[in-house]
Symmetry: C2
Subunit: 222 residues, 2 copies
């Protein structure tokens, strides 16, 4: 049920992601010191919290509910995360790291080994599916306007998109084009489209694939 | 120096913009009752405030500074706008209406009469230039994540982009594609790129034109 995240990042891939080490440091200040069983316990609690978010929304994630879901005492959850805010922050970091491991070192087409356009398509689909599960959590954690584009997790994702774009369309302004693509995956936009406009997630996935094809000149266009 | 905004909206164009009447109502509750000289006075004060924003930033817009810039007594500004918040709100509304008049009924290529792809290119360039002048003001007025996509001015702009896209690429999911294009013109993104990354506005304009061409299949693509 609960698994320890794969080693992260792989040395080869991190070369293309200058901010990754910095992010890793920011996300797990005390992680390297954890013994293996403590790390497994922590991952188990976070997987339990993630299940609660997916099944009942972010509001359902309380220290008590996570303890019950993971079959441990409440004290264990408090010792590990301090308070609910600490738990939610750790939960997003955990999800972020799992996702990064998947696109940096997981199987293709999300991970290395597939052509860049296929990886871009898979990246957006995976991001959209992740947002479908964690939307409340992502919205609650969204930084203000001045920090929205500089928060480390987003920068790592955008760097990845820019790297794939440079492989697919080297002649384009891939730095700016990566912002365009990331905008389509913005949690606030996904919330608006799915919850406020009632657009099904499948249509968002189709639109993503179409956008990637248009931007990279893979489809016939107009 | 100061001009009364052109009649707005024109009946033909408003057909394609179902939210325009609603927006018009929201923006000018007492406008229809103003006598012509009062309306001219109001426009003159707002043009003075707009000059201050463009020259010295949003912080420079105080009731006193606007009065001095427009060569009227301070009391006139207070009577007309109530307080600084009222003035800034009126200023954004005024700018919004001038811009809407330009793309709905002004000369081509921004206004009607040019092919849709040319109008899209001109629309983004005009939006970027407007943001260069008013960025602080737009950022200060940015609604929270849950309202960012439903605020009336943004909806009118996005509807316009969707309408042009439907003319240019009728086979595409123009509703979702219009969100993609609008994301590129988001004030928070423009702030990040120009102020935090030091990217010149000219490069943003080039990237906009390139994006429009890619999305509509006008350029060679990749």
């Amino acid at each position: 049920m609960s698994t320890v995240p794969p080693p992260f990042p792989t040395p080869q891939e991190s070369v293309g992601h200058p901010e990754l080490l910095q992010l890793g440091t920011a996300l797990e200040p005390d992680e390297p010191c954890l013994r293996a069983d403590a790390a497994r316990n922590r991952a188990r609690l976070l997987e339990a919290a993630a299940r609660l978010v997916a099944e009942r929304g972010a509001d359902a994630v309380t220290m008590e509910a996570v303890a019950a879901e993971a079959c441990v005492g409440k004290g264990t959850v408090f010792r590990r995360f301090g308070d609910r805010t600490g738990l939610l922050t750790a939960l997003l970091d955990h999800s972020e790291k799992k996702f990064q491991a998947a696109f940096l070192a997981g199987p293709p087409p999300l991970g290395p080994g597939a052509p860049p356009v296929e990886r871009l398509r898979a990246f957006g689909r995976a991001m959209l599916r992740r947002s479908a599960d964690e939307l409340e959590l992502q919205l609650a954690a969204e930084p203000g306007a001045s920090r929205r584009f500089t928060a480390p997790p987003r920068r790592v994702l955008r760097h990845h998109v820019a790297m794939l774009l440079r492989q697919a369309v080297p002649e384009a302004d891939c730095e700016l084009l990566s912002h365009t693509l990331m905008g389509q995956l913005d949690p606030a936009l996904i919330h608006h489209l799915t919850r406020q406009c009632g657009i099904p997630m499948a249509r968002l996935e189709d639109a993503w694939v179409d956008l990637v094809d248009r931007v990279t000149g893979t489809a016939t266009g107009g």
